[in-house]
Symmetry: C2
Subunit: 193 residues, 2 copies
Amino acid sequence: MATAIIKNRKQQIHLTAKNLFRERGYAATSMRHIAAELGIEAASLYSHIKSKEEILQLICFELAEQFLKSSDELQKKKLPAKELFKQAVTEHIRIITQNMDSSVVFLHEWRHLSEPFLSDFKLMRKRYENFYKNILKAGAEEKKFQIRDEKLTLFVIFSAMNGIYEWFTPKGKLQPEEIAEQMVEVFLNGILK
Amino acid sequence: MATAIIKNRKQQIHLTAKNLFRERGYAATSMRHIAAELGIEAASLYSHIKSKEEILQLICFELAEQFLKSSDELQKKKLPAKELFKQAVTEHIRIITQNMDSSVVFLHEWRHLSEPFLSDFKLMRKRYENFYKNILKAGAEEKKFQIRDEKLTLFVIFSAMNGIYEWFTPKGKLQPEEIAEQMVEVFLNGILK
DNA sequence: ATATTTGCCTAACGACCGTTAGTTAGGATG
DNA sequence: CATCCTAACTAACGGTCGTTAGGCAAATAT
């Protein structure tokens, strides 16, 4: 079937784009560059995709949906705050480490989205942040967490998790599950003996 | 004196560039855009600066030197690990919050530097990371810190500090000193009650 | 066997890129 | 007053950008 070939090529394009967008940034990556990586001409890309930005949109929203989906599923479990927190961090880190290229693009290149996609994206991110904010709130109400400034704490946690791409290598000795476990340990108990 | 006017204009250009590089990224910011912000033509910028990259170099290395200078001065103090750690975090956060635009460029746009500047920059960053790594090492030797994976811990701390630009506003209620204090508290003791 | 679809090609579009050359008005300096 | 210097200008350079149009050969469908 022909559709299979097309789909494959489309996937190849997205994969290559993800990789280049991550390495050089969206703005500094040209269609000719993506094409060259695949051994074809830039114009040929347009048999498979609509535009450069469409690729960016797909990357950003695909990942946003993964984050939101996993948070929705965790919500349903009705766990105590501490346990929910552990599982949320583990899930977030799983998604990031399983989608390294996409994650970097998701984190830093979303600003090149045009409207209305930009606004939609920001909204989804806000929703996801609120999921975490509510975990912190619940933990404080359960008298399990001690939080002086909610926003600060929230962003310490997000920044640490989202910064994983700076040092993680899939072939290193530290695997996602253990990263999650150790990060949770730092977040909950700190590094003091 | 004429030099004063030149210097001023040069500073204006750098200031505008910092701001635009932060907001749109280096690659997506054109010389014409910088010029327009100042009400002049793109070609006129070249009376004051050598090239677009020169601006980026100045931003990146200026900040790198600030970080290294502050770490050198802290080294000299011969403090116990925990106290050194506190002061290092406070200094880092002071520099970041005092140079918000530069910081974002420093953190994300350095990859557009050409050689040999790129290699120089990476070396300086490595030196600074080692300063922090040694604090963690010292703390572990003093049996004050409990660190399972040094690299993970290091990057949790760096990511949290460097992510401040995502939420900090100079006019907000949380000021640099207090951010530092609260972050140190999270790093050392975590959020568990 | 014929007709259609696919995946690529070449050529080109107008727009914008960083940068250089040469000029000019106006203020500072002698 | 004559000279120099500055900071801007206009014009233009070669190049690259994302994208479109139209064609062509091979694969697929009828």
